[in-house]
């Protein structure tokens, strides 16, 4: 019999990037909030600049709860599934935002209206076959104030390209209009990044510095970035990387209305006979607790959001909480961010220091920024070149087929070329499809005997065509900057376990094809909200995090505004 705890107004399940943001407006409004986090609290002293620990042994995630419930993966129904070996997300107060790359992008207006825009410009037949993509229930303009608010609350640095309709060519000319500049200037550029920017300009493209949730000056009494080179899968030793652990969560705690409970492993969300949520059950230190609440905000990341819903069956929801229309797990996809391009230059790039968020972007080939009339795909990608290198990774560099992978010739090669290669990051439009979905694995279970998530998903023709097109563009860019050797990664097939996982609890006006409404509240369960990329219906050509955070703030705001109706 679980120990029954005193009730609270709101329970947030998961204090990562999304849940960690929602905590602030909720706590500031005076509501009592309990934040249940499966991981622990870490601080800057846990973040030594140690490549073996961070990157080789992936310690940020290896001791986490998530590692014991890694999803199984298969490209489609016809293939047996296999379990991944690592889960890339982290459990912790702040979640994966503790060590993520901290790129902090807004989606572009097109991403909110993919269906109607394709219809308008190319005709309905250009929407890829089998895709279940829908327009978002609102446009970019609706979300803009929340982007703006979150950028200021957590601290995002960048260069605006469009402020109230005025284009600034130092920024991204394709971005949606902002109401204000970024709170901080963008991260500095290295000589190599400038070289790449010049090359892009020579090609007639519009390069610009990328936005990052990283301080470029003292901000809210936290240090500016040290560019020390261990940001990639590492936590920040000076709190300049603006995870929710050092921004919104401590400020929410300071109101006195947020209680953070760590090492809390939520197993079910409980409902009463009327189909209203009554609380959540969780395990902590081997004991079971029941936390009664008036409202649950589920923010445990895409896979766990879906898993908890599917596991929380009841008489009111026989096949999963909020799943009476069988939409939980559907419209799932993970970002096509592979199929990279690497280049070898005949000179040092001086990339030993820096961070993945420090770089130059090109959006000329993203979304619908170019004419697709003669192309057999829709969407595009963001080209990103950044400064990031550590010794073991450098020693293990691609040899571009020039020397073997060991021995004297190899050693001489890396002694000369260790600082001469660069690998780009290309995030591409990815759409949801009927045949890509999440469900519970029929066989594989976690240590508690609960089934893990099964991912049934693969990149379709449209995504592969986009990937190949983007590789062409990236190669062109590298060669313009003087690269002498180029290697392309494979185009990919199966969507594996990803840090950019979308859908599964999609947001939309239509209750038959979406799990939550335009405010992130369940269509079926009046006092259940969902936050995170699981509510997003399209990916755009950039990271989901800032968008998930803006949506999360908006959902929290809605909960506050509508409290009297929602909580009764």
């Amino acid at each position: 019999m679980p120990t029954r705890l005193p009730g609270t107004d709101v329970v947030i399940v998961g204090l990562g990037a999304a849940g960690g943001v929602a905590a602030l407006p909720l706590a500031e409004s005076g509501l009592s909030v309990v934040g249940l986090e499966a991981g622990s609290r870490l601080t800057r002293k846990d973040f030594a600049p140690d490549e073996i620990r961070n990157n080789v042994r992936a310690w940020p995630f290896t001791v986490q709860k998530a590692q014991r419930e890694i999803p199984t993966v298969r490209p489609n129904r016809l293939t047996p599934s296999t379990q991944g070996t690592i889960h890339p997300m982290m459990n912790g107060v702040g979640g994966t935002s503790l060590h993520y790359w901290a790129q902090s992008w807004r989606l572009n207006p097109w991403d909110f209206k993919v269906v109607s825009e394709i219809r308008r410009r190319y005709g309905v037949s250009k929407i890829p076959e089998g895709s279940t993509v829908e327009d978002w229930p609102f446009g970019y303009e609706e979300l803009e104030p929340y982007y703006d608010r979150v950028e200021r609350e957590i601290g995002v640095s960048g260069q605006a390209g469009n402020v109230n309709g005025t284009i600034d060519r130092r920024g991204n000319p394709f971005e949606g209009a902002r109401s204000d500049a970024y709170p901080m200037e963008p991260l500095r550029w290295t000589g190599f990044i400038e070289q790449m920017a010049d090359a892009a300009q020579n090609l007639g493209w519009d390069p610009f510095p990328g936005p990052a949730a990283v301080n470029t000056r003292t901000y809210q009494n936290r240090s500016s970035c040290m560019y020390h080179g261990f940001c990639n899968r590492g936590g920040c030793h000076v709190d300049a990387k603006n995870s929710t652990a050092v921004t919104t969560i401590p400020r929410a705690e300071a109101t006195g209305n947020l209680q953070v409970v760590s090492h809390a492993h939520v197993t079910t969300i409980d409902v009463d006979r009327n189909g209203r949520v009554t609380g959540v059950t969780y395990l902590q230190g081997g004991e079971e607790f029941f936390q009664p609440t008036k409202f649950v905000l589920l923010a445990s990341y895409t896979y766990e959001n879906v898993r908890l819903l599917l596991r929380s069956t009841s008489r009111s929801y026989p096949i999963g909480l909020s799943n009476n229309h069988a939409q939980v797990g559907r419209h799932y996809f993970s970002h096509h961010q592979g199929a990279s391009v690497s280049a070898l230059f005949p000179f040092d790039l001086n990339s030993w220091y820096g961070l993945p968020a420090q770089g130059v972007a090109v959006d000329n080939w993203a979304d619908d920024n170019f004419d697709h009339a003669d192309l057999d795909f829709v969407g595009g990608g963001n080209l990103w070149v950044y400064s990031d290198r550590r010794p073991i990774g450098a020693a293990g560099m691609n040899t571009f087929g020039l020397v073997p992978n060991w021995g004297s010739a190899w050693k001489a090669f890396i002694a000369e070329n260790s600082d001469r290669s660069n690998t780009s990051y290309i995030q591409k439009t990815t759409l949801p499809y009927e045949s890509n979905y999440l469900d519970l694995d029929p066989v594989v279970k976690d240590p508690f005997g609960h089934p893990v998530i099964r991912i049934t998903a693969e990149y379709k023709e449209n995504e592969l065509a986009v990937a190949e097109f983007m590789q062409e563009k990236m190669e062109q860019w590298y060669r313009e900057a003087g690269a002498t050797e180029i290697v392309r990664g494979g185009l990919g097939r199966t969507m594996g376990v990803s840090t950019h996982a979308y859908g599964g609890t999609r947001m939309g006006d239509n209750a038959e094809t979406n799990v939550v409404n335009r405010f992130g509240v369940s269509h079926e369960v009046p006092n259940l909200g969902i936050a995170g990329a699981s509510v997003m219906g399209t990916s755009g050509a950039r990271n989901p995090t800032l968008t998930a955070q803006a949506l999360s703030w908006r959902t929290a705001q809605h909960i506050v505004d509508q409290w009297s109706t929602l909580a009764d």
């Binding site: 087929g401 020039l402 020397v403 073997p404 021995g407 004297s408 010739a409």
Partner: protein
């Protein structure tokens, strides 16, 4: 009329004929014998005679040319090159492996037309030079993307055939390093004036662990 040399290295025997008629009969007989050492049907283009002092078509090759032994590149000889041969290339491929087939074990090109064949045990490390007879020859990228010979390693219990194909080219193509079989075939297109092959067999036995 050209002399017919059977092989190079220690077992060289050179046939000479004093009388043209004797020579013609002899070469006709010889050609028949030599042609029958090829596997399968003979096309007019397969006129080059490819042999080895230590391998024969249809027969199991020594384990020394495989990872079950020292994995040395085997010696090859060729004869009856067409007139006008300027350069030679060799590809060793297994058409029963690879996705898609064939799996390439060895590719070597830029071999001077004067070379009588390839000696055993060509270099496997960068910086090692080719023997004088084949100075200028380049080993391209095989299926493992490596510029040297790697011999048969078929799955246990199934024999595979290994086609050592010799190409005679009408021009020195001046090719660079690291070419794959696809690259080489494309570069040679229109320049192949003769071809020949030697097709030994290999099978691995024993228990997998």
């Amino acid at each position: 009329m050209p002399l017919v040399k059977l092989s190079f290295d220690k077992s060289v025997s050179v046939m000479r004929c004093k009388h043209p008629l004797q020579f013609s009969i002899l070469t006709a007989l010889l050609a028949t014998v030599l042609m029958s050492s090829h596997l399968g049907a003979q096309s007019a283009l397969y006129s080059i005679v490819v042999e080895s002092p230590t391998m024969a078509s249809g027969e199991t090759m020594s384990r020394e040319y495989t990872p079950d032994g020292r994995n040395l590149s085997p010696p090859l000889t060729w004869a009856n090159l067409p007139e006008g041969t300027r350069e030679i290339a060799v590809i060793c491929a297994d058409f029963g492996a690879g996705n898609p087939p064939p799996w390439v074990h060895w590719i070597i090109y830029g071999i001077p037309a004067t070379a009588p064949g390839l000696p055993e045990g060509l270099p496997i490390q960068p910086g090692q030079v080719m023997p004088d007879d084949i100075a200028g020859a380049i080993q391209g990228h095989n299926g493992w993307r490596r510029p040297y010979y790697r011999g048969p390693a078929p799955p246990l219990g199934t024999p595979h055939l290994y086609h050592f194909t010799v190409y005679a080219l009408d021009e020195e193509l001046g090719l660079g390093p690291r070419l794959t079989r696809e690259d080489l075939l494309e570069a040679m297109a229109g320049h192949i004036i003769g071809r020949g092959e030697l097709v030994p067999v290999y099978e691995r036995f024993g228990s997998p662990e």
